[in-house]
Symmetry: C2
Subunit: 452 residues, 2 copies
Amino acid sequence: MNREVNIEVKKKIELSKRPYKGTRDLFPSDKRIQEYLFQKMRETALLFGYEPYDGPLLEEVELYKAKSGEELINEQIYSFTDRGDRLVAIRPEMTPTLARMVSQIYKEAARPLRWYAIPNLMRYEKPQKGRLREHWQFNCDIFGAPSSVGELEILSVSVHLLKNFGATENDFEILINDRHIVDDVFKKKFKLSSEQIYRLYKIIDRAKKVPSDTLDAMMTELMLEPDSKKGLYDYLEIKNFTDLFTFLDILNLSTTKEYFQNFTNKISAFNLDKYITYDPTIVRGLDYYTGVVFEIYDKHPDNRRALCGGGAYANLLEIFNEEPLPGVGFGLGDVTLKDFLSSHNLLPDFTKPDNDLYLTFQSEEGEQSAWNLATTLRQHGVKVTLALAPIKFNKAIPLATRCGARYVGFLAETEISENAVTLKNLKNSEQLKISITNISNILDFITSKDID
Amino acid sequence: MNREVNIEVKKKIELSKRPYKGTRDLFPSDKRIQEYLFQKMRETALLFGYEPYDGPLLEEVELYKAKSGEELINEQIYSFTDRGDRLVAIRPEMTPTLARMVSQIYKEAARPLRWYAIPNLMRYEKPQKGRLREHWQFNCDIFGAPSSVGELEILSVSVHLLKNFGATENDFEILINDRHIVDDVFKKKFKLSSEQIYRLYKIIDRAKKVPSDTLDAMMTELMLEPDSKKGLYDYLEIKNFTDLFTFLDILNLSTTKEYFQNFTNKISAFNLDKYITYDPTIVRGLDYYTGVVFEIYDKHPDNRRALCGGGAYANLLEIFNEEPLPGVGFGLGDVTLKDFLSSHNLLPDFTKPDNDLYLTFQSEEGEQSAWNLATTLRQHGVKVTLALAPIKFNKAIPLATRCGARYVGFLAETEISENAVTLKNLKNSEQLKISITNISNILDFITSKDID
């Protein structure tokens, strides 16, 4: 063997059948699940009057620099220089694109603006359960809604979606907070500097995830006055809205308290209270939220993770030198949603496709009739999988079952001579020979409800 | 002003609101059109028993090198090195991913394998009408089908799709050829070298697009013997299958002729003949096809372009050292499809969303009833856009119309006191006050067919 052949062989062996790290090959049974998730997302969004939009896969990196946290740009973004010397990135999230698009049209558009999208996104992450490098994310956003009710509608959308999959308040909970509370308590009351506030957000963000001595160490590093240190520990002890109101009372933050009392009253009036719990550690520190922030958590002990995050932001259009337009939105990924539904056995079986008829012919003579019948039935909306070569009777049924068909059709010698087709219901074995010119009889038989 | 402030100002001004070159911002009216296209694609694929799949946005460049033409890799691919030093590319087409996925499962899978996908793809192209850098492409492929009938089914799928949009044989035509013809005539009969055949494909590909003297110059450069040169000119003169058969007769290519006679007989038997024309210049020179190749052309004089290309390939799994598995497939882009449908006025109006009810309240007292009614109606599948602040009667109707609602609902003082809602049909102005506890009456009124 000469060297060139060696290289050729090596190359062939090296070509991997695996998908790129952290991404998925969605085989039909996986893709049917994803289509089911997407369909429910679209349905839910449309039920609330949200309109679909989409944007480019690539954006200039400047857009993310202007909008997103440092970590995202420096460590998690897929960026490169294109052939025209532009520094671009595969979208890691949809909100910057949304802001760019809204900035073009918000002046003329009717308000509130309600938009949704289901884009594929990429982040350079260490792949682990619930976190892949590529995922799809359901994004819903409302712009220009009056204070509080925009937040409540967005929360309603997320609740409706999960209920639409069959989930209840036993399966998930919405942990909620508001950036105004942290700001009012620590910036206004305890006079922390901007630098301290920035680091404080990071600490709060991690408070539940680290052991108490690590938390203590982080707090010490922040060099808080004794008063504010006690304030922070008290803050982290808040368990619900009642606790929050007491905490705000002690600190004499009556305006803030009033605002949240009004907000929680509406949560109850709109029947959302059974889903929503106050949690002081939800701050979504690295994001651009300015008001309400929330995360939806799976209650299942084996899958204690957030499947959705969102909140309110006031200054999304600022980077385009446009006037403030308040917005509220959330993002919910397909991977975490699927994990959530699996933990609660809420995923239907998508192993097999959903076909109406597996149509076979038993000799070459039947081919033309089979094709023409298949064409006609499809024009009437019947899903027909056509056997493309003659198939024996005994092989037809297993093949039909394998492709998920509810009926199998035969065009054997007798049928051809009588210009008919024999149809067999695979569930109850009912069988009928029908003239192939009598399409309405065929449709009646095939679309009749099965009696299990 | 100091220097830093200057830079800050400059940065803000530079941040563009435009999408990245050659890509689209799909605002709701655009995205609704795209969703309509995708819906018909999915419907059509499922009617023929094709199963959905999807793959990663990124693949290692090696995969495309092994599979695709030189031009694609060198000039048209978005490739870059990831943080793990892998050379990767944003998928420019779906077939290599499809091959990689099929290579993992084809041994166990029932045949034929019928798969479809609607991925977003990127190519570094000079943007022009019908050609953008990012587009979505409907891909349908069948693997392991008997010779000829796989091709015919794929052709049927494409015809059914376009008919499903309301197009007829007056709007589009399928130009078809087979690589075997070129190979039989020029490789076997006229003994052209592999190098000559490679260049010949490029010439044939461009034959209709260049002036005749350019064609002559290209032919001269190929240094053909007088016989083969005449053969090539004769070949390019073929207008239909009858001409083709005469041409093959003259060259004594009886086996090839017989194969195509059988194929065209089936085209007629399956009623596809009115869509299909033989065209010697369709060879899809830079692709990996090995048999039948075809392109679907718009017949509209203002939009004479291909909206779809496809063909048969024998060796797709070869790059993975797997046994040959014959496949046939096509790709149809969303941009060219939309242009096609526009030229023939086949696109419905998607300017406005499709909403059932725009629900308003006239004072704060109505808010809670409005939210609860909206929630209940949505649980019954009614698309409700809720006005989030009190709205005067005279402003409600224009707002309802703007959001595409068929009905507008009022919860004013009278309604609140009577625990009722007033619903108005925006088409025929019919109006009814219904108790909000009587959901079935509300549903009946809202879902009744409008009489225009």
